[in-house]
Subunit: 160 residues, 2 copies
């Protein structure tokens, strides 16, 4: 990637072959384009749901919240392993790419639709190739959902 463009999220510098994800791939024209970055020692992904992303009028669809938690999880794990390897986004080095092994979501409150959602994550290494990301999803200051992703480094054979 050209360094003329500053990365706003780890997804900006995934290799092209792994940048097609419907949740967070910059090359997927119809996707959500989630972008995940550090905020201190937490990770953050901000997303404004589209008009159609509703469960009932005025409230966000749980599957979109699950998607946000999913890509926020793999993105956070990528950031954390990249940092452990000695790199930050602006170093322009290719970050590791993770896949989701498991995804758990607890829906605490109806999530209002006309609001930017903020996923805030805490990353923990379980094993060098397996990371756990615990996430809280806020609409304004209201905690609407919590989630947990176990992400594993994408096997080189993935999809082959």
């Amino acid at each position: 990637m050209s360094m003329e463009k500053v990365a706003k999220g780890v997804q900006d510098i995934y290799p092209d072959d792994f940048a097609w994800c419907y949740g967070c791939g910059r090359l997927n024209e119809k996707g959500h384009h989630f972008l995940t970055n550090w905020d201190g020692d937490k990770t953050v992904t901000v997303f404004k749901p589209l008009a159609e992303h509703i469960a009932i009028p005025g409230y966000v669809y749980g599957g979109v919240i699950a998607s946000l938690i999913d890509c926020h999880g793999t993105g956070s794990a990528a950031l954390a392993l990249h940092r452990k390897n000695g790199y930050e986004l602006e170093d322009g080095k290719e970050p590791p790419r993770f896949v989701t092994a498991s995804l758990n979501v607890n829906f605490l409150k109806p999530t209002p639709q006309e609001v930017e959602l903020k996923a805030v994550g805490k990353v923990e290494e379980i094993h060098p190739k397996k990371w756990k990301v615990t996430t809280e999803v806020y609409a304004h200051d209201t905690l609407c959902a919590t989630g947990e992703v176990v992400a594993v480094v994408m096997p080189s054979t993935f999809g082959k």
Copy 2:
């Protein structure tokens, strides 16, 4: 709903106000239109992902699989409580509507994209207003993901 049109899923006969879900609402033009029905004592939702619903080229995005499991769960719970109340879809009675309390997904294998996915669910009553749906997602005969949804009857205050 006019009985001229035969329901293919419980989502066909949700009241209009609750038929806007991005996952399964028949009135949401841009949504996935999941349809859930009985197959014996199991529940089934079949879905063909769109070209953009990928994680990497050729493989389905986990957030779409999570969405399938989510709406399959609430739809299955609606079918089960409706049946417990003495009704089947073709009776034309309004079914109960559920919301998701929690959603857990285990991704077992990369899920091929060019294939119809089949979610098969087992429904269990935990409490008259709280049902658990255990789901397996197949691509052809391959079990690609498993999931569990705890669904609760939508409170009359939901979204108010």
